[in-house]
């Protein structure tokens, strides 16, 4: 019996080992090596990459990344709850709206980000139209700033917030809101005291799903932020490309991962203790 269990679980273990554990070990190993003179990496083993992280420069970039990821997560929360509520209450058209939410996934994220550049740049659609109707004399600086980065992150990760919130709303017993109304709660009060608190698990799941990729994002800040908006994801990317400093890139990756892991574990622990 025990033997059968071992063999049936073996494929899953193998996948986890090859695709999760092994890459992590490789990254961890690289982070301890020294950068080679012509790129590449070699011995001796050293903690130098980690000590370089103490630089104030990286602290500033990390802080800014954190703030931008938080902003994107908060905006997603505010937008996603009413949207998910609307979809959950749409009766038969519900599935149709859900498909619309997921439709962007059918196109490459890169292409969609380029599309935003066409909309936002000085000669882009928005500025052209505004100038055309005489609303502005100079093009608005819509692209290549932190605002554009947040916009791009919100656009890209909104479905990850909508879907878990929708799933919680969908599972909720409709009698709960009726009971609230029956006990004297006006619609807005029922929403605030019953529906919203009961959607918390979905909001937390959605926040984790939006916050983590936002924190590590490098494509969106690279394209929509221009050179002005370097985030931690871009720093990591640069170490592996132009800077050719794989040990340092590995060290940043690992530290970032550990911090996110700690934060998410704490959040989920708290969540678990609350509903049981």
């Amino acid at each position: 019996m025990r033997n059968a269990r071992f063999w049936f679980l073996a494929p899953a273990r193998l996948v986890a080992l090859c695709l999760l554990a092994a890459p992590l070990v490789i990254v961890a190993a690289y982070s301890l090596l020294t950068r080679g003179v012509y790129g590449g990496q070699s011995r001796p083993l050293t903690l130098e990459s980690y000590s370089r992280l103490a630089d104030l420069l990286y602290f500033g970039i990390a802080l800014k990344s954190l703030l931008i990821a938080l902003a994107a997560t908060l905006i997603c929360l505010v937008l996603a709850f009413p949207l998910a509520l609307f979809i959950a209450r749409s009766g038969r058209r519900r599935n149709w709206y859900l498909h619309l939410v997921m439709l962007p996934f059918w196109t490459s994220f890169l292409v969609r980000t380029y599309a935003w550049m066409f909309l936002l740049r000085d000669t882009g659609l928005i500025n052209t139209i505004l100038a055309g109707v005489g609303a502005i004399a100079e093009p608005l600086p819509l692209l290549y700033n932190d605002g554009a980065v947040v916009l791009g992150l919100v656009y890209g990760y909104l479905p990850f917030m909508v879907l878990p919130i929708y799933a919680t709303l969908e599972r909720m017993d409709t009698a709960l809101e009726e009971a609230a109304a029956d006990l004297g709660a006006r619609p807005w009060v029922a929403l605030a005291t019953v529906t919203l608190p009961l959607t918390r698990p979905g909001m937390i799941a959605g926040s984790v799903l939006v916050f983590i990729p936002s924190l590590g994002a490098y494509l969106t800040p690279d394209l929509l932020g221009g050179g002005k908006s370097t985030l931690i994801g871009n720093v990591i990317q640069q170490q592996f490309t132009s800077a050719r400093d794989w040990p340092f890139g590995s060290a940043i990756s690992l530290v970032l991962m550990m911090l996110v892991l700690a934060a998410v574990t704490w959040l989920l622990r708290r969540q678990k203790g609350e509903f049981s």
Binding site: A181, D182, F275
Partner: protein, 324 residues
């Protein structure tokens, strides 16, 4: 006595249903103060819809609903002084028992919330459960919290949707009696929806039997059982043997081995089989015209064997004369 609740020609049609199919079809009745009123009927007869119309969770297509002579037909649920105990109880899972009970009082800005909560907790024996969440309660405890949450608002009418359906069968008879005595004690009119005739017969002061969105018959349990006005009413409330236009309930049939000295028509029959049911015995007799007659006897009254010749008769007053 002025009724606390009255429905006048109330009709409900759901837009997604065919135009001639009414969920509730011109229903009128009234509920007297401090009585237990049961809406009884098979599933789909419109009894739950009627309850939702009274609560304001659905609005009628036509007709009027009056609470203490005030027309509340268009009032939203949060303004009506009625309260509902839902079939699933619908307790708020993110709140404790205490918070569930206080919810309505906060919404209605009542004073003395602490004291009223304590009184309700005492009345419904919820002491010691105040800080639990609904997921930590048994079915019976959940129901008592739902009752407390509604009763603490002192509604004019308490609405109960299948109050015993979600409970363990072994608990039902006990809760049935407790609900009835609770109703007597608080003196609030209860309107209860049920599909279970025994529940309705045991608990209600008035039974309103519904069928196909219409009110089939309303009256005291005794009245509806003994003097049903339609074959549906007769059959829904209990078993009936139909002999032409005459119905006779199994427990009204008398059986004897020797010819009885009565000035009634006595039928001859042959015992086909007997089924032992514990406290009673069901006997099926084949009559001379080959019709089968079901008879119900107390266990101690039955010493008949299959194949035995028996005499069967009943009182004229027990005959239900209802043309089919």
């Amino acid at each position: 006595m002025r009724p606390v609740l009255a429905l006048r020609e109330v009709t409900k049609h759901y837009p997604e249903h065919p135009p001639d199919q009414m969920a509730v079809d011109g229903i009128s009745f009234q509920v007297d103060p401090a009585t237990l009123f049961a809406l009884l009927g098979p599933s789909g007869c419109g009894k739950t819809t009627t309850l939702r119309l009274i609560a304001g969770l659905d609005s009628p297509t036509a007709g009027h609903i009056l609470l203490h002579d005030e027309d509340i037909t268009t009032q939203p649920p949060y303004r009506r002084n009625v309260s509902t105990v839902f079939q699933s109880y619908a307790l708020f899972p993110h709140m404790t028992v205490r918070e569930n009970i206080a919810f309505g009082m906060h919404r209605k800005r009542m004073d003395g919330i602490e004291k009223r909560s304590r009184d309700m907790i005492d009345l419904l024996h919820l002491n010691g459960l105040e800080d639990r969440r609904p997921s930590q309660l048994s079915g019976g405890e959940k129901q008592r919290v739902a009752l407390a949450r509604s009763l603490v608002l002192q509604p004019d009418v308490l609405l109960l949707d299948e109050p015993l359906a979600a409970l363990d069968p072994n608990l039902r008879a006990q809760v049935r009696d407790e609900l009835k005595s609770l109703q007597r004690r608080v003196g609030i009119a209860f309107v209860m929806v049920t599909h279970d005739k025994e529940e309705a017969l045991a608990m209600a002061d008035t039974i309103a039997l519904m069928k196909g969105g219409r009110l089939e018959q309303a009256g005291s349990p005794f009245d509806v059982y003994v003097r049903p006005r339609t074959r549906f009413a007769a059959s829904f409330l209990g078993a009936v043997n139909w002999i032409g236009d005459v119905g006779i309930r199994p427990e009204a049939v008398r059986v004897s081995a020797s010819r009885p000295q009565v000035d009634r028509t006595v039928h001859l029959g042959q015992v086909q089989r007997t089924t032992f049911l514990g406290d009673r015995v069901q006997l099926i007799a084949r009559m001379e015209n080959d019709a089968a007659l079901t008879v119900q006897l107390a266990r101690t009254d039955c010493d008949f064997e299959p194949g035995q010749q028996v005499h069967l008769w009943w009182q004229a007053s027990d005959e239900l004369r209802l043309p089919g």
